[in-house]
């Protein structure tokens, strides 16, 4: 039986893992219960700064602390990180201060809260900022490992986590195999490569199983780091498979698909099909219902794979 977990829980656990470092501090904007920073708050209230419902202030309090030698981890819903975009741009990214921003409840998979809470553009907007690393891990194990790695970096980051549980893929893996900026090949195939992030990684594995039943052998990549993109891995997929699909619970404009497309057009080229939110807002629905409504679930990834192969 596959263990199910939410990536936000991996984030909360990682903050506890990092607590031995006295320079690690946590910043909250009244959503610690949701983003899971509350565990750190309970254990280390003296190193947790409540910023109330004030995301703009939170980002820059983080900047001031980073400039004073601390390692701030700030979190709120992905959608509300966007409210502080210019603070992230001008006060964090521009002076290259290592503030680590986590946006939980990203994507339409967030579900019944509806479109106001379903960020579909966070990865795109933060990807445009120089100096900022952008991550969207797919399970709690990799989220935990990647979050702890962020503490050792010297530049800011944005990580999206998800509200709802998805299959855990990395129980018992060697932690060294999970590194910022290095995609992970979960399945080795040579007909088409499916490059996915976040909750669509497990959907992509399902799609690969369906394709296999039809005699199509797909590679599946967990591209947990959107920036810097693992271009070498993309190149290898192009060489081996000759057809690429990207899959993300994010507007099809600006996210992983765009990042891969930007790489392809400047390097080794292959037909690309992008599975993503079709440039529309979401609505209230269960997580699985949303993936179907937005044409993101496994069957749509299968369709895209066949189309990409047909374009070889």
């Amino acid at each position: 039986m596959t263990r199910m977990a939410a990536t936000r829980d991996g984030y909360g656990q990682a903050l506890l893992d990092l607590a031995d470092n006295p320079k690690v501090v946590v910043l909250e904007a009244d959503l610690g219960k949701s983003t899971k920073s509350l565990h750190f708050r309970k254990a280390h209230p003296e190193r947790t700064v409540s910023c109330g419902i004030g995301e703009q202030n939170m980002l820059l309090v983080g900047a001031g602390m980073a400039a004073s030698g601390y390692i701030p981890f700030a979190s709120t819903f992905a959608i509300f990180t966007e409210r502080a975009f210019e603070q992230m741009r001008n006060g964090v990214a521009r002076p290259n201060l290592a503030v680590h921003l986590c946006g939980s409840h990203g994507g339409t998979h967030t579900g019944t809260d509806g479109s106001s809470a379903q960020s579909i553009e966070d990865l795109a907007v933060f990807r445009t900022l120089p100096n900022v690393t952008v991550l969207h891990p797919c399970d709690d194990v990799s989220t935990r490992i990647l979050t702890t790695r962020l503490a050792g970096t010297k530049s800011p980051s944005y990580m999206r986590t998800a509200r709802n549980k998805t299959p855990v893929l990395y129980d018992d893996v060697d932690p060294d195999s999970i590194q910022i900026g290095k995609g992970i090949e979960l399945k080795d195939g040579n007909d088409v490569a499916i490059i996915a992030c976040g909750v669509l990684v497990s959907e992509s594995l399902k799609a690969a199983d369906i394709l296999m039943q039809e005699g199509i052998n797909a590679s599946v990549i967990d591209m947990h780091t959107l920036k810097p993109l693992d271009g070498q891995l993309v190149d290898r997929m192009v060489e081996r498979c000759g057809a690429i699909v990207t899959a993300e619970d994010h507007n099809v404009i600006g996210g992983l698909g765009s990042a891969v497309a930007e790489h392809l057009v400047a390097n080794k080229f292959a037909p690309l099909e992008m599975v993503g939110v079709p440039d529309r807002f979401g609505e209230s629905g269960q997580a699985d219902e949303m993936l179907d409504l937005m044409k993101l679930s496994a069957k749509y990834i299968v369709e895209a794979a066949k189309k990409a192969i047909s374009r070889k």
Binding site: S50, C51, G52, Q56, L60, M65, S68, Y70, E86, G91
Partner: protein
């Protein structure tokens, strides 16, 4: 604090000369707000800031955050007076590759603690510096200068609320109340009503002074360093004149962000006592 009032007034006069020179040379920039703030910043640096100009990144230094980062010529002039940068560096204002970027930038200029330029950000950054100082059990302070027009940014009030909630007695704000913003007088753009009452209601120590009377400025800085409620953040509301010291710039919204021409430059140098009429 060995400097006399006369010494501070002379330092501010020299800074005014540099401000006008910088803006004239670049034919761009923000003289009005630089001239309104300069007596305050000069006195703060010359008599209060615990800093090491030869070691600008000293961890335990007091921080100064010019949140109204466009008024950079004023800060650059003071940094040159204090020895963080040279007077020659002032010629790099708004010049490609220069340490004196258009708006103050911590990545370019020694002694600049925050890259400002977008209004409403410095107080939050200062709160972060003050929070870090407390975690370090250090007595270093975070001084932040904001403008009055800047208070129209909602994020200022996020920070004001949060700093009082966290009882950051080591956070000290100077408000340059010069009554003019980019387009016009503040009163025309967005009335702010009772500013001291607003800050008091947010839980801050508040004092008002004339920001060009050096004796009052020193009393104001005394207040900032030792406010009535030492567990609370403090704000010194300094009533100033935009463009102070240059007759044709004073209270003139046109000189928020415009450079003097050659004739006006000469007149300014005369008024500042640099050249004969």
């Amino acid at each position: 604090m060995s400097k006399s009032i006369a010494d501070l007034e002379e330092m501010a006069r020299k800074c005014r000369v540099e401000i006008v020179k910088m803006v004239h040379r670049a034919q761009a920039g923000h003289p009005g707000g630089s001239l309104s703030e300069i007596d305050l910043i000069a006195a703060l640096y010359a008599t209060r800031m615990r800093i090491r100009p030869e070691q600008p990144d000293w961890d335990d230094r007091d921080r100064f955050i010019l949140s109204k980062g466009h008024a950079s010529p004023g800060m650059y002039a003071v940094l040159a007076e204090m020895g963080f940068i040279s007077h020659e560096d002032l010629k790099s204002y708004r010049v490609l590759g220069g340490v004196c970027q258009g708006h103050v930038d911590m990545k370019w200029c020694p002694g600049v603690d925050f890259s400002a330029g977008s209004l409403g950000m410095g107080l939050s950054f200062g709160m972060g510096c003050a929070t870090a100082a407390r975690l370090d059990a250090s007595d270093r302070r975070a001084f932040v200068m904001i403008g009055d027009g800047e208070m129209q940014e909602g994020s200022v009030w996020e920070a004001a609320m949060a700093a009082a909630h966290h009882e950051l007695g080591n956070l000290k704000v100077i408000l340059d109340r010069n009554r003019i913003q980019n387009d016009d007088f503040c009163e025309e753009q967005m009335r702010m009503f009772d500013i001291p009452a607003k800050w008091k209601a947010f839980g801050w120590n508040v004092k008002e002074i004339d920001g060009h009377d050096m004796t009052e400025v020193m009393e104001g800085l005394d207040f900032l360093e030792a406010p009535e409620n030492c567990n609370g953040p403090s704000i010194l509301i300094a009533h100033t004149v935009k463009g102070a010291g240059i007759s044709y710039m004073e209270n003139n919204p046109s000189f928020h962000g415009a450079a003097p021409n050659d004739e006006q430059f000469h007149q300014a140098m005369v008024e500042l006592g640099e050249v004969e009429a």
